[in-house]
């Protein structure tokens, strides 16, 4: 296998995808079955708990040293999204290579073909080598920070998946690759693995995992039952510059974490001496994306705060409006002391007016209310809100609805006032015409009753609003828990 000669390897510093692909093309040592076994191995590795993975990992390395040398070149350049093209590009290539292999399988001219291919590739690689060298003056990162042959922890550290799943990136890519093609290949997902397959698999891997094939078989057989909570999540690498950044605060936050993880890794790599024009470019690029994301997040948060503030101020407004109605109610209750009915009538006609004025005044004093809400109960509520963006969002929606309904209430009340006003103006003459000695007493009675009812009503309204707020709070909490 002259393909593994160090000369050729240098030609592809870090070109993980193409390397792996070529390996598949030229690696005639591996039969198709063997290849599948390898993949399965990896897949199993992931499904098992770390311990098993670790072992599988170490064993992998022992099994094919040439192989692993070669992969060790892959590392962190593949970390960027580009590398991920591997899943599509290489897929095609692999498929092709497989077809080819099937066609010419065990024919002698296969070797010749491979040789030709090799020659071509050597030519190509020499070109790319020159290109690469001009771009990448520094030492290859794979030499400084190898991931194959290192412990799992170190490998994860060096070749990180930036979404927080602690699997070395090449392994993750293999898993994703199998996930993407597994359905179309017999024996992976297409046809259920039969007992024989599992047994042979276990037999092939028991050395790798340093455990008996029976145990391995049992593990394979009961995999879903043993590891029910393990989900395979496709790795989505950090966005590259030029890509559309998310708008949703949660998505922004998620992406920001990925980018920051990537940035940390770039810094780490640079600190151990992996410095190249490319990496510097990448550093600025990632930093730029982070800056943009942070800016976006800040804007989104500001908008949210503004909306919440508005909502709270509207609450205040509403409450104040209620207070004012009670005050005006008191005013009207004060009037009965005067025996003169005319005065009562006058007062009654004034009440709605003043109420109306008060309401409009309340609206004008929104600014003051805003400050009030900030200083008062808002302050404590705020810190909580800030802490939980999701909660805030949900609560915000609820408050929005409440605000709308309260605004509607205000409007209907206003209409009521207008209606009453017009009633008074039309009704007053007859009431005035009725001369009765009992009138004062009746008035008193009615007014007292009125007062009591008014107070009850206000209390009930307050309770309702409080309950509504509680409901919104609880709903938001429930939903955020669900998320």
């Amino acid at each position: 296998m002259d393909f593994d000669s160090p000369d050729v390897m240098k030609d592809f510093p870090g070109l993980y995808a193409s390397e792996l692909n070529k390996q598949c093309n030229n690696d005639s040592d591996y039969s198709d079955d063997n290849e599948k076994v390898m993949k399965k191995d990896i897949l199993i590795g992931k499904r098992k708990e770390k311990k098993d993975k670790d072992k599988g990992y170490a064993a992998l390395e022992g099994e094919s040293s040439a192989d692993e040398n070669f992969k060790s070149r892959s590392p962190s350049k593949t970390k960027k999204a580009k590398s991920f093209k591997f899943s599509t590009k290489t897929k095609e290539k692999r498929d092709k290579s497989r077809e080819k292999e099937k066609d010419v399988d065990k024919k002698k001219d296969r070797d010749k073909k491979n040789d030709k291919k090799l020659d071509k590739e050597k030519l190509k690689s020499e070109k790319t080598k020159k290109l690469k060298q001009s771009l990448d003056e520094s030492a290859d990162i794979g030499d400084i920070l190898p991931i194959f042959g290192a412990t799992l922890e170190v490998a994860v550290e060096r070749s990180r998946c930036h979404d927080g799943v602690d699997i070395p990136l090449p392994i993750r890519e293999c898993i994703d690759y199998i996930e993407s093609i597994g359905v179309s290949f017999e024996g992976i997902y297409k046809e259920k693995c039969n007992k024989m397959n599992k047994q042979s698999l276990a037999a092939a891997l028991n050395h790798t995992f340093h455990c008996s094939s029976r145990l391995l078989h049992a593990l394979l057989h009961h995999c879903p039952a043993l590891f029910p909570s393990i989900r395979i999540e496709r790795y989505i690498p950090p966005l590259e510059s030029g890509a559309k950044l998310p708008d949703n605060p949660e998505e922004i936050d998620h992406e920001l974490k990925k980018q920051e993880s990537l940035l940390t890794q770039i810094h780490k790599e640079m600190n151990v001496g992996c410095i190249s024009k490319q990496r510097e470019e990448l550093l600025w690029e990632v930093q730029r994306i982070i800056t943009q994301l942070k800016r976006k997040l800040k804007c989104a948060n500001k908008d949210k705060e503004a909306v919440v503030e508005k909502n709270e101020s509207l609450h205040e407004e509403k409450e104040e409006a209620k207070k004012l109605t009670t005050e005006t109610g008191d005013q009207s209750q004060d009037t009965p002391d005067h025996s003169d009915i005319q005065e009562i009538k006058q007062n009654l006609s004034i009440v709605p007016e003043s109420q109306h004025e008060d309401l409009s005044r309340v609206e004008k004093s929104v600014d003051i209310n805003e400050e009030c809400s900030k200083n008062d109960d808002g302050a404590s509520e705020y810190s909580v809100l800030d802490n939980n963006l999701a909660l805030l969002q949900l609560k915000n929606e609820g408050l929005h609805l409440l605000r709308d309904s309260l605004l509607k209430d205000i409007q209907t009340e206003r209409n009521q006032i207008m209606l009453l006003k017009s009633h008074i103006s039309t009704d007053t003459p007859p009431t005035m015409m009725v001369p009765s000695e009992n009138l004062d007493e009746v008035m008193d009675l009615f007014l007292k009753e009125n007062q009591i009812l008014q107070i009850k009503k206000i209390n009930l309204v307050r309770q309702i609003i409080e309950e509504q707020e509680m409901c919104i709070e609880l709903k938001a909490q429930i939903q955020s828990h669900r998320l």
């Binding site: 640079m270 470019e281 990448l282 550093l283 600025w284």
Partner: protein, 201 residues
């Protein structure tokens, strides 16, 4: 990493350095978005890119806004290395920040290993004349000693904000042209001329 098409405009990399709170971010944001941020929030590192017209030529400027605090010194070298020009900022209302410029200058020279790296000494907060602690003379003396221009700016009023960035970019551009020439085998005389020009600015 994506290789940029050759048609892409020239890209100049500018790095903002200086102590904490002197207004590096304020200058950057004023230049980038015409906004002045009142509330202070320490930067870890931020990077911006803007397309601008420099003497009739389309160019891109990459601005890296670094941390003034020592906490982030570990990652600073990685950025300094890739910078093509530096704006070294201090606050005219704070002598300490002016003294710190000396150290920043040394750090940059150490990393870049180049005395003639495009560099501007910038005294920010010129709108706060009544609180001035660093005299114009003092600052321009230091700039002369280093062989760099000295400019006073105000991120608040936008005074000289564009100037410092454009001046620095012109220096970077001149520097790059000069390098290209020396790479082609001639231009030692040119470089001398250019150097003189820079100090005169």
């Amino acid at each position: 990493m994506s290789k940029k098409p050759t048609a892409q405009p020239a890209l100049h990399k500018v790095i903002m350095v200086g102590s904490g709170g002197v207004g590096k971010s304020a200058l950057t944001l004023q230049f980038m978005y015409d906004e002045f941020v009142e509330d202070y929030e320490p930067t870890k590192a931020d990077s911006y890119r803007k397309k601008i017209l420099l003497d009739g030529e389309d160019v891109q400027i990459d601005i890296l806004d670094t941390a003034g605090q020592e906490d982030y010194a570990a990652i600073r070298d990685n950025y300094f290395r890739s910078g093509e020009g530096f704006l070294c900022i201090f606050s005219i209302t704070e002598d300490e920040s002016f003294q710190a410029t000396q150290e920043f200058r040394e750090q940059i020279l150490r990393v870049k290993n180049d005395e003639n790296i495009p560099f501007l000494l910038v005294g920010n907060k010129s709108d706060l004349e009544d609180r001035r602690k660093v005299s114009f003379q003092e600052a321009s003396d230091r700039a002369k000693q280093w062989g760099v221009p000295y400019v006073e700016t105000s991120a608040k009023t936008r005074e000289h904000v564009d100037k410092v960035f454009y001046d620095l970019m012109r220096e970077i551009r001149a520097r790059k042209m000069e390098e290209n020439k020396t790479n082609n085998g001639r231009g030692k005389d040119k470089s001398k001329k250019k150097k003189l020009k820079c100090t005169l600015l």
